[in-house]
């Protein structure tokens, strides 16, 4: 098991977002998490990487409890987690090369900086955009930005990749390309993936297992086929 979340609670003032959420991600697995907007998916993923502190509950990543980790330990653990943000989150004052070099310069204990160029090119080749190396993010289309963000998430060769709505805001063709790219990467690097999405097509192609999040708890869990065939009206609503 690479991620283990147990009884996770998180609220903002009076609003309770997560009410005892549980999740286990196995090695090499593609787990899709679906939920309505505001159901706490992004909050959960932020608790997972230490961007938010949960009110209570246990969050273990690669066997380590992140709630008791010091900043330096957490930063080291983060080298094993790739994160694809919803809006790509490329550093817009840096070129594509600098965006990709950025994580490498933070983890010099893991990589030799002499190989930076090779690693940057390898990551760009993986997403099919080696020619963009000296471009600024603003010069790229939305789909290209998402690919570069994926290359940045991959450059440290993480064991786990977290995808926060990877196809949101993209046209259907580009969205399909991103989904196929995610599958390729998973096969090539044998990563474990947690994918947060609204996109049923994405879930159909990529999910080994799915969790439906409703009112801050796991409402249903199973394979895409099992859940899409369920009779429960609340589950059906996810697949319409």
């Amino acid at each position: 098991m690479v991620i283990n979340i147990q009884d996770l609670y998180k609220g903002f003032g009076e609003t309770k977002v997560l009410n005892g959420f549980n999740l286990q991600l196995m090695e090499g697995e593609n787990l899709v998490l679906m939920g309505k907007s505001g159901s706490g998916k992004s909050v959960m993923i932020k608790c997972l990487v230490g961007l938010m502190e949960p009110d209570s509950g246990k969050v273990e990543v690669l066997g380590k409890d992140i709630s008791i980790m010091k900043r330096q330990e957490l930063d080291e653990l983060r080298a094993d987690i790739g994160f694809l943000f919803q809006g790509s989150a490329l550093y817009d004052s840096m070129t594509v090369r600098e965006n990709l070099e950025f994580p490498l310069r933070r983890h010099t204990h893991k990589f030799d900086l002499k190989n930076t160029d090779e690693l940057v090119l390898e990551a760009l080749n993986n997403v099919g955009l080696p020619h963009t190396i000296n471009m600024m993010p603003a010069e790229l289309s939305g789909g290209m930005q998402r690919r570069i963000a994926l290359a940045r998430a991959l450059i440290l060769k993480p064991k786990i990749i977290l995808y926060d709505e990877p196809t949101t805001g993209l046209d259907p063709i580009t969205a399909k390309e991103i989904i196929l790219l995610m599958l390729d990467i998973q096969k090539k690097y044998k990563t474990s993936s947690l994918i947060i999405t609204h996109d049923v097509d994405c879930a159909r192609v990529i999910a080994n297992r799915m969790i439906l999040l409703l009112d801050g708890i796991n409402y249903a869990e199973g394979s895409f086929e099992e859940l899409s065939a369920a009779n429960d009206s609340k589950i059906k609503a996810f697949f319409k």
């Binding site: 990487v49 900043r71 080298a79 994160f83 943000f85 989150a89 994580p103 933070r106």
Partner: protein, 259 residues
Amino acid sequence: MDGTYSFRKNLSSFFIEIGELTGFAGRFFQELFSRPFEFREFLRQCYNMGNKSLLLVGVTGFILGLVFTLQSRPTLMEFGAVSWMPSMISISIVREIGPVMIALILAGRIGSGIGAELGSMRVTEQIDAMEVSGTNPFKFLVVTRILATTLMVPILVILGDFIALSGSALVENLKGNVSYTLYFNQVFNTLEFSDLFPATIKTFFFGFAIGLVGCFKGYNSKKGTAGVGKASNSAVVFTSMLLFIIDFIAVFITDIFYP
């Protein structure tokens, strides 16, 4: 009744903000002395702030000296004291007008830029991305920027002062046939340590205030593009007010040591 309530609410949020700003400054000093030092980013910020503000500071300083001399000339001529022009202009510019005017311009140029940049990075999750990649974004973004403004604002002010005096010398040369050598001789004969030292020291505080408020507003910007605009705008307003308060304190202290 509503007016009183609104005033109390605004006053209370003002003091809350001052408290938060103090906490932010405390965190800056805490992170300043801990490793790793983001020297590369610090140099990049110094270059961006210094190099890109040169033209603005140069033009503003030159016009400041030019206009100040043109406006003062008729009055000094009336009293037959036009020969005092270089002394009067140099003391006014070096001690007060130069540092305050240039710091205000830099608050607009650099402070709002930092507020908007960090605000937009917050909104587009770039700060979160930085944190996830194992970087301390406060150290990388905030500490480097505050340090860069603290160092660059004094340099820009000194440069601006010199350009303002050059503008003034040009007017004196054209209108009063005063040579540049004579003008600057008189300037340097007039200026003393007590004019230069306190004026330079206070510009470090100006620079620190510009960086601190810009970073504070941008880093804590609320979600949405409106939040970015608000961060940028309030960074300038808050910094301008803070600059006058710092200036008042600096003048007050200087008056004690150099009456």
